[in-house]
């Protein structure tokens, strides 16, 4: 994991003091609401329905046990004893007091955490594959490059007043686990024929009101040139992106209106002058950062103990099958900590749980944890002989719901309960889905349900196999369903099922969809395959034929 040097630490300390002064001047009336707004947003502070919301970055999802304990402490001292993990691997506090935010940030800075650019019209947290460094199919570990790009984009003087927010995700595997295709820029690590490291660059993806799948703008940009190439894209966007309408200000609209070829020519014209210049990455710098991410010394061990544990406990076996994954090293597994228990909203973790997770991370996972884009946590380096006792402790604290990848492991935004943008609630619908499907989730199989309380799409509904979007109809909450979306390396937008569904009918409609799938599936066929084979009509017939 990357550790701050003196420069990194000085920078975030100075940022805390800068923000402390900005907050003070706002509270004194020296800054207007309008002037303070971008300043607080660029520091992750939103004004929400009940209270401000503070979003803290977790760079590409990596957390130390020390950081987990600090998040717990902040939740106790300044908030309501819980935090919420987001779809961009970040963490949110839902009840901080505006005047206490500088103190919160100072506490977080002491463990190398910050909220710089976690919101606002600037370059946001760089996200990546939660299995980076441990999955067998990896071309190259993306984390050092994430860190290099994080540093380059942090407090960037030129790109802090962009037309709109800007999100970058990097995947090091052909299996895309970072939804790179719905990011403003998606980077896929690859090697050329000579084995040189580089990136395929996708541009113009995004969710929200106008979901778009990113398109390839460059097949291969060498690692030395990646910053100058990103710089060229950002400058082109900053200069030509629309500023007249915030709903048309994302780069996806610029690329669509300009046309990919013309846009690419503009970027290349920009890049021609900067390529090979001050932004070139030299080998020494890449090596310096890579040194923070070398694989640990794995112990050679076999699965003897695991195999007997699996034989002895059915509940453990079920959890093992559902919530752990293959590790590149035999004798190790990747463990998902499900934040989708029936006891609390998706992505929420309590103070006690955070403390426990920190302790377990120290005990079983080299002192680290990772956040994932589907709002769970992961321990990526657990010895198989430790799995049983890890499971027991997770289970005691409601962190071992065996539902990863199933319908109850849904992505869900905070919705009307917290968010001032939302048109409809999502947490209560999530509860209903959990109640209805808990017993049958595993048997139903892999099924990704994603839900947003408004068309801004924080819950990724557009790429859910079942997508649910909250809409407002004359003051009433209705829900628009889509089917057949995908968040994989073949990202797809879902198809609209039909007219919106009243709130009281949403759960039964989802049930109809699930039953239709089960009726048509062949053997172990996944939802995506069945849907591809039979199309949307049988689902429409079932849902609307009966109403």
């Amino acid at each position: 994991m990357y550790l701050y040097n003196e420069l990194d630490q000085t920078l975030i300390n100075e940022r805390v003091e800068q923000y402390r002064d900005q907050t003070k001047r706002f509270l004194n009336g020296e800054l207007t609401d309008e002037q303070f707004r971008p300043l607080r947003l660029m520091n992750g502070l939103y004004i929400q329905t009940h209270a401000p919301m503070l979003r803290i970055n977790i760079p590409y999802g990596l957390l130390s046990s020390k950081q987990l304990r600090m998040l717990a402490q902040v939740s106790r001292q300044y908030d309501k004893d819980y935090v919420h993990f987001t779809t961009r691997q970040n963490v949110q506090f839902n009840w901080p007091a505006l005047e206490e935010v500088p103190d919160i940030l100072a506490d977080l800075a002491s463990v190398q955490m910050h909220s710089i650019q976690s919101s606002g019209s600037c370059i946001r947290n760089i996200t990546s594959d939660p299995l980076a460094g441990v999955c067998a199919d990896e071309v190259e570990d993306p984390r050092p490059y994430c860190e290099i790009i994080r540093q380059w984009s942090t407090l960037h003087p030129e790109f802090s007043y962009l037309p709109r927010k800007f999100k970058i995700a990097i995947s090091g595997s052909p299996q895309d686990r970072a939804v790179t295709q719905v990011h403003d820029i998606g980077l896929h690590m690859k090697k050329d024929v000579e084995g040189n490291i580089g990136f395929e660059v996708l541009v113009g993806g995004g969710l929200g009101r106008t979901p778009v799948i990113g398109q390839t703008i460059a097949d291969f940009i060498a690692e030395a040139d990646i910053l100058s190439y990103l710089d060229a894209i950002l400058r082109t966007y900053n200069r030509y992106g629309r500023r007249d309408n915030k709903y048309k200000a994302r780069i996806k609209i610029l690329v669509r209106e300009t046309g990919l070829d013309t846009f690419k020519a503009q970027v290349d014209a920009e890049w021609k002058d900067s390529k090979g210049g001050e932004l070139s990455l030299d080998k020494a710098e890449i090596q310096r950062v890579k040194a923070f991410f070398v694989a640990p010394n794995y112990n050679v061990s076999d699965d003897t103990k695991l195999n007997s544990d699996l034989e002895n406990s059915g509940a453990f076996r079920q959890w093992f099958n559902q919530n752990t994954r293959e590790h590149k090293q035999t004798g190790y597994r990747v463990v998902s900590l499900s934040l989708k228990s029936p006891h609390r909203p998706p992505g929420d973790v309590t103070y006690d749980q955070l403390q426990l997770i920190a302790n377990l991370a120290d005990q079983y996972n080299l002192g680290q944890a990772r956040s994932t884009h589907d709002q769970n946590l992961a321990f990526t380096d657990v010895r198989t002989e430790d799995l049983f006792s890890l499971w027991q402790q997770l289970n005691e604290h409601q962190l071992a719901t065996a539902n990863i990848g199933t319908i109850t492991d849904m992505i869900c935004c905070p919705g009307l309960d917290f968010c001032s943008l939302a048109n409809a609630s999502s947490i209560d619908i999530a509860q209903g889905i959990t109640e209805t499907f808990t017993d049958s989730a595993i048997e139903t199989g892999s099924l990704k349900l994603k839900m947003s309380g408004c068309m801004n799409g924080c819950g990724h509904h557009s790429i859910g196999e079942i997508g649910i979007l909250g809409v407002d109809k004359k003051g009433e909450q209705w829900y628009q369903l889509t089917l057949g979306g995908s968040d994989t390396h073949e990202t797809k937008l879902g198809e609209r099922l039909g007219r919106a569904i009243a709130k009281k009918d949403v759960i039964s409609t989802v049930n109809d969809i699930v039953n239709t799938y089960k009726l048509h599936r062949n053997d172990e066929e996944k939802f995506a395959t069945t849907f591809k084979r039979i199309g949307i009509q049988p689902f429409k017939d079932k849902v609307y034929g009966t109403r």
Binding site: L7, T10, L11, E14, R15, E17, Q18, Q22, L31, Q35, P38, L39, S121, Q151, W152, T154, L155, H156, P157, E158, F159, S160, Y161, L162, P163, R235, N238, R239, R243, D273, S274, G277, E278, L279
Partner: protein, 151 residues
């Protein structure tokens, strides 16, 4: 109005061209005026500055760069970041080494970033704002990005 340059508030030695006026030395003219009076401005041999909006492509006034002694980049609203890229482009790509001034809706909290992309003078709304801007220039003692070439 108060002008900040070299971390101090200074007396402005430039003035903006008013309608029906003929430019004297140290006059800042509009892009339109430049386009209509190129020859006169060049042969006049008096120093002049050019005022452009942040969204104007450099190509439309690049010819002026070897004659003008100052480019004033106007921010229509502080949140419009195009002027930052314009200044950076003038410094890096066009190697413009003379004064680049930020004018319009310029806030003290932006002073640091503005100076980092190549602005060397900032026009602020009041003396109070200008003093604060000078303080804000010292917000950070470190940063990740390299400086603009001229600095």
């Amino acid at each position: 109005m108060a002008l900040v340059k070299n971390k101090q508030i200074i007396q402005d030695s430039w003035h903006y061209l008013r309608a029906e006026q003929t430019p004297l030395a140290n006059t800042i003219v509009s892009l339109e005026y430049w386009q209509q009076n190129k020859q006169a401005l060049i042969s006049n041999k008096q120093s002049f500055g050019l005022k452009v909006s942040g969204d104007v492509p450099v190509e439309s006034f690049s010819e002026a760069l070897k004659h003008a002694s100052l480019i004033a980049v106007e921010f229509p609203v502080f949140s419009d970041g195009r002027g930052y890229s314009l200044a950076k482009t003038l410094r890096d790509k066009y190697q413009f080494t003379k004064e680049i001034r930020a004018i319009g809706d310029v806030l003290p909290d932006q002073a640091f970033y503005l100076s980092r992309v190549g602005f060397d003078s900032l026009e602020l709304k009041s003396e109070l704002s200008a003093k604060l801007a000078i303080e804000k220039l010292a917000d950070f003692s470190v940063y990740y990005q390299k400086d603009s070439v001229s600095q």
